[in-house]
Symmetry: C2
Subunit: 363 residues, 2 copies
């Protein structure tokens, strides 16, 4: 049986966990059947086996290669999602009387901001909260006396993305959960990058952290062992049993990214997909985008109908055309199409076709 043939043509626009490359899925199945010629499943082997240690080493290396991670940075695969990073970041970087600077551009940025408040003081430099986070504030200055600046590169729920990052006199921490590996990033401009894997790099259950080692070890309070980045750096993500299979699927996904030409090639693909869909949103008289044009995310495209009463009818058509996962988040309403790396442009075209079909039926 060819695994690829078991999947029928559903267009997967899920906001996350999101679509993965079929080759990564197929190779992951092979590893479950028989991992590295061990005649055992990857689900039931020791993480200390040399075959699996090679997986973690290769996954770290491919992250470094794809993003040109400079010397002095460590690559970690942790558990707990970006939500756990919301507390690990201040726990490792902020003392009670210190202040951290946060840019509040959406739901996840808000949660990160709130969590930092448990550990120290928080200075919210700017927010677009009163306009339902439909644009990215750019007019602010990062104070030199804060301990770090935190931002969210892409807002999965509201469909905005940062296409430039501010100059900063202090360490920059960025939640890149929903656009990591979708485009080149100058890692040297950041001190800590984190990303839940389940959007652009793998399945749920593993979180990537890229961290500049020298920012650590400066707080005076105690840090629980599992929440101390230094413990995981020292042990190469293997202080305790890592999420073995999830890391393997990430490796296979990142190999696919590399094979297609890396993050530059991904950016070209992602630009083409986003332009195709936004062009239709702007052309089609039935639909409109929800975000400031200059901040429109290439990963999560949010749009609504000018006549909201037609919403159910479009969702029905979408279902008939096998366009899965396009219902918008309740905070925005309407529709959201997530165009992660693995989504082919043919799926975007199928969505555009459905929008045009809907236009004809309703004009």
């Amino acid at each position: 049986m060819n695994n690829s043939q078991t999947m029928s043509k559903v267009h997967n626009f899920s906001a996350g966990p999101g679509i993965l490359p079929q080759i990564a899925i197929d190779n992951s199945i092979k590893a479950i059947q028989n991992f590295a010629g061990m005649d055992l499943s990857i689900l039931e082997i020791s993480h200390r086996s040399k075959q699996y240690e090679a997986v973690v080493a290769e996954a770290s290396q491919i992250v470094k290669d794809l993003l040109n991670v400079p010397a002095g940075y460590s690559v970690l695969f942790l558990q707990g999602g970006a939500s756990t990073q919301f507390c690990m970041v201040p726990m490792n970087l902020l003392d009670e009387n210190d202040t951290a600077a946060y840019l509040k551009t959406g739901e996840w940025a808000m949660r990160a901001t709130k969590e930092a408040g448990l550990f120290g003081k928080v200075n919210v430099l700017a927010t677009s909260e009163n306009e339902n986070y439909n644009w990215i504030p750019k007019d602010y200055t990062i104070p030199a006396d804060c301990k770090y600046f935190h931002c969210t590169s892409n807002n999965t729920i509201f469909g905005t993305e940062m296409f430039s990052f501010p100059e900063s006199p202090i360490p920059v921490v960025c939640d890149m959960s929903s656009d990591i590996f979708s485009r080149p990033v100058d890692v040297s401009k950041f001190d800590l990058i984190y990303a839940g894997a389940q959007k652009n790099m793998g399945p749920a259950g593993v979180t990537l952290v890229i961290i500049k080692d020298e920012i650590l070890g400066k707080v005076t309070h105690k840090i629980p062992t599992m929440l101390d980045y230094r413990v995981h750096i020292k042990n190469g993500s293997m202080y305790n049993t890592p999420p073995v299979f999830a890391i393997y699927v990430c490796l296979e996904t990142l190999k696919w990214v590399k094979g297609l030409g890396g993050v530059t090639a991904m950016e070209t693909r992602n630009k083409a997909k986003a332009e195709l869909l936004y062009a239709e949103i702007d052309r089609n008289p039935l639909f409109k985008g929800t975000c400031a044009v200059e901040d429109r995310s290439r990963m999560n495209v949010c749009f609504v109908l000018n006549k909201p009463e037609l919403e159910e009818a479009f969702l029905t058509l979408a279902k008939e055309r096998k366009l899965d996962g396009i219902k918008g988040h309740r905070s925005v309403g309407g529709f959201r199409a997530s165009l992660y790396n693995a989504l082919p442009i043919e799926s975007v075209q199928a969505l555009v076709n459905a929008m045009q079909e809907f236009e004809k039926a309703n004009s």
Copy 2:
């Protein structure tokens, strides 16, 4: 292609991640190919889909059914392994001036003890540390003025297991990572049970917590959101994206346990396997066990050669006989055979046969 046929006959004695039932592996592959008739892989679907919400609900229910979990307890699937529980337990139950009572019976108990010391005072009631943890202390009293008593039901590294638990005037917390679901447990005698899944209930990347709700909410310090059991209880393990696939494999594994007759049937199987191997260790003049007979674990059987110089030769024979993962932990040396639920008695017989073959060759 029949997935079962892709695995050749390797006997998997790995201490963890450990052997899983082949049917759980096969069904997990099917869910990766096409989950719940969605024509999508379980690796790339929303955890908020009704099909996946049903998985988490069913997994929680089967835990409750298998262990007869009383009313007033919650079942959680978290990330971070038992190592994260080492800090979550005191973070949720212990204030700075409080004291917790710990039984130090091995490496993991020691780490749990050490972690609690970051949050409050620790009273180590008893330990067998000076005899390399080769027995379980039983002669101690749990002080009523401590906040909770923590013990480790099975010591994966040293091969001892608690076959009785002390009466306690205070809440009892137990790390059951390596023997959960291997035997019946009276959950009503415990207030918090936790277990990394990767030994007896699933793959690495998910941690089971069974908690009596009423013990929570009594500490005065702040708890980070992701480390607060109440947050996960309130959100049914779905506060953030859970480890989707790992929970699914647990569900399939626990269905297999239930299908064979539940934890009582597992205990019968596990007793038979352990008795077969310990009988050979005691009979065979070349080998000897490392632990007090009454405390010998049914999950992890530790034994050594009377002539240590023969160790490499036995490991070579084991490899030839496809007995995988029997090298002992460096803290004990010699050999360790882990006999988790999914290991068939035929594998134990194969090990016994090799020991007898080795005896003939070396006498």
